[in-house]
């Protein structure tokens, strides 16, 4: 094997583009591994880990592009590196102009602009966001690793100038029917939602759509907005705006539990709202809310969607029934043929909110899990790479994604983890989430099915059977072809559910059976 490196000084590309370049390079004949990264310290450390090092790499700056390739032969390597230009050219089919270099130029060219969508690396994100606000633009700030002091000052500036900052770490919004970032194709309607979690908004809006309802606006506020440090600045702005928005009839708030001081400050503002409010604070203990809270409480994203639909239509949508004959049949099918060693559930999540909500549902069923992102009362994994007993991993955290594509856009990380879990004879159930929508992986089911089949076959060879349970978040309007995703998974023997909460409830029944049943140790 031979290794080659090309450094291109002062050539910046975004991480999603580079991920795609690396993927295409590594699929070429004679190429074993390829990386395309900007020369940040973290990325250089990553190259060091895979034994790619040179003086040029150590001297590269974050403005310099590094392409590293491991090939079978000198010939394959030479032909790849000589033709590297064509891999680094922006898709010629794109209608985007590539000659605009600054926000000022962009605004001069399009003076009616009203939103900046910012996804530059964290250390530079606040600077770009501030410039956008000063130009009078609202901000959708996808970038994470933005210091909290910057978040506060950006949000205070926005509040004082009739603007909104969605983020930092904001994955999803749907504004006037247009999806921004990772969003699903949902119909318009009277349900407004404000969410601190991108996948939470995706699941909620998809479930509302699936139940026949529609969304007026879906506003992301970033994962820290309801912390006591930030105090819900963007939530309050969004709440006031939706309360006076003629298209919105009910407002749903999705978040982990707010900081105590923040919630105390929010309650009087919520009381002033003219419209019904629904709050889904995932991870909050049942009964910890006062009975006279100025909102209806939802325990899960499914409950939140159902309550919203009921408020606007007067009818509750049909709910999932765990006692139905079909469901019981499915439980029976999945419990069959387990071998005595098979004891544990392993959840491998792309969506952090799904990992969190699943922990809540399992905890309600008395099941304690290990996780790299544990809910209060669960156990932190000593090593995120190694599962212990029942384990749920959020694979979208920095534990896994530094220098690597997020599992929502590329399934490689999850594929490897599924194969690892498949080798563990104690695993009885694998739980997966599939997130469709704009900017997500074009075919997540196809990407994971070979690994699922391999893991199932390994369990069968050991005289057992591996249950694979999945939820799909999305709608029939999404680019991934929702019905096909379901079909591909079901053909691979996966039990597919239309929401993460339902998949979690199903797993809770299966897992409880394992510990209580005749096969328990």
């Amino acid at each position: 094997m031979v290794t080659g490196v090309v450094i291109r000084k002062n050539e910046y590309h975004d991480s999603v583009f580079l991920m795609r370049v690396a993927k295409r390079l590594s699929q070429q004949k004679g190429i074993q591994q390829a990386a395309a990264l900007m020369g940040t310290q973290k990325n250089k450390a990553l190259l060091e880990e895979i034994q790619v090092r040179s003086r040029e790499i150590s001297e590269a700056t974050p403005s310099d592009l590094i392409v590293a390739v491991k090939a079978d032969s000198q010939e394959a390597l030479a032909s790849m590196l000589e033709g590297i230009d064509r891999w680094l050219t922006i898709d010629p089919g794109s209608a985007l102009r590539v000659d605009i270099r600054t926000l000022d130029e962009a605004v001069a060219m399009q003076p009616r602009s009203n939103l900046a969508v910012i996804s530059v690396p964290g250390p530079f994100a606040a600077r770009e966001a501030r410039k956008a606000l000063e130009q009078g633009l609202n901000v959708f700030l996808f970038s994470d690793n933005v210091p909290v002091e910057d978040e506060i000052s950006l949000k205070e500036y926005a509040r004082d100038h009739g603007l909104l900052v969605m983020g930092p770490d904001c994955g999803t919004a749907i504004i006037n029917g247009k999806g921004i970032g990772f969003a699903n194709a949902v119909r318009r309607g009277p349900i407004g939602v404000i969410g601190a979690s991108g996948t939470g908004i995706q699941e909620f809006t998809s479930l509302v759509h699936q139940a026949g309802g529609g969304i007026s606006q879906a506003i992301g506020i970033g994962s820290r907005d309801l912390s006591d440090a930030v105090g819900g600045i963007s939530l309050l702005t969004a709440l006031n705006t939706l309360d006076s928005d003629s298209q919105t009839e009910v407002i749903t708030i999705l978040s982990k539990p707010p900081g105590e001081r923040t919630l105390a400050g929010l309650i009087p503002k919520m009381r002033q709202c003219q419209k019904p409010l629904v709050a889904c604070f995932l991870g909050l203990k049942p009964g910890s809310l006062s009975a006279d809270a100025p909102y209806k409480t939802a325990r899960t994203l499914d409950d939140a969607a159902a309550i919203g639909i009921r408020i606007v239509t007067g009818h509750a949508p049909p709910r999932w029934d765990a006692h139905s004959p079909n469901f019981q049949k499915l439980v029976g099918r999945e419990k069959a043929n387990k071998n005595p060693a098979q004891r544990y559930l392993r959840g491998i999540f792309a969506g952090g909110t799904f990992c969190f909500q699943t922990q809540q549902i399992l905890q309600d069923a008395g099941i304690v899990v290990h996780s790299n992102a544990p809910l209060h009362g669960n156990v932190k994994l000593a090593d995120p790479m190694k599962s212990e007993e029942h384990t749920l991993v959020d694979m979208g955290t920095d534990d896994f994604t530094v220098g690597k594509p997020h599992p929502m856009i590329d399934s490689r990380l999850r594929r490897e983890r599924i194969l690892t879990e498949g080798q563990d004879p104690r695993v009885a159930i694998l739980l997966l989430d599939f997130v469709l929508g704009f900017n997500a992986s074009p075919d997540p089911a196809d990407e994971l099915v070979p690994a699922i089949q391999e893991a199932k076959a390994a369990a069968t060879d050991r005289g057992g059977s591996l249950s694979v349970v999945a939820s799909i978040c999305g709608t029939e309007g999404d680019p991934q072809n929702f019905p096909r995703q379901v079909r591909v998974l079901e053909e691979a023997g996966v039990a597919v559910f239309p929401s993460s909460a339902q998949a979690a409830q199903f797993c809770a029944l299966l897992a409880a059976g394992l510990s209580e049943g005749p096969h328990a140790e």
């Binding site: 002062n10 209608a95 399009q110 603007l163 921004i180 900017n439």
Partner: protein, 57 residues
């Protein structure tokens, strides 16, 4: 007069995209007017130097 947030919600986004080009393409595919900024890290990608320059300018 509506503020700029109300304008955004009523008219829908007219966007400037800075960073991941896919986000601009997805907006464009939904019929949103969008200008994409071909961003590069300022000051060679050194955040401390950027802060220093911002203070000077």
């Amino acid at each position: 007069m509506p503020n700029k947030l109300e304008e955004l919600l009523h008219q829908g986004p007219i966007a400037v995209n800075i960073g991941v080009a896919d986000f601009a393409e997805t907006l464009q595919s939904q019929g949103v007017e969008v200008v994409h900024v071909q961003w590069t890290p300022p000051a060679g990608g050194d955040p401390e130097l950027v802060e220093l320059l911002d203070q000077l300018l």
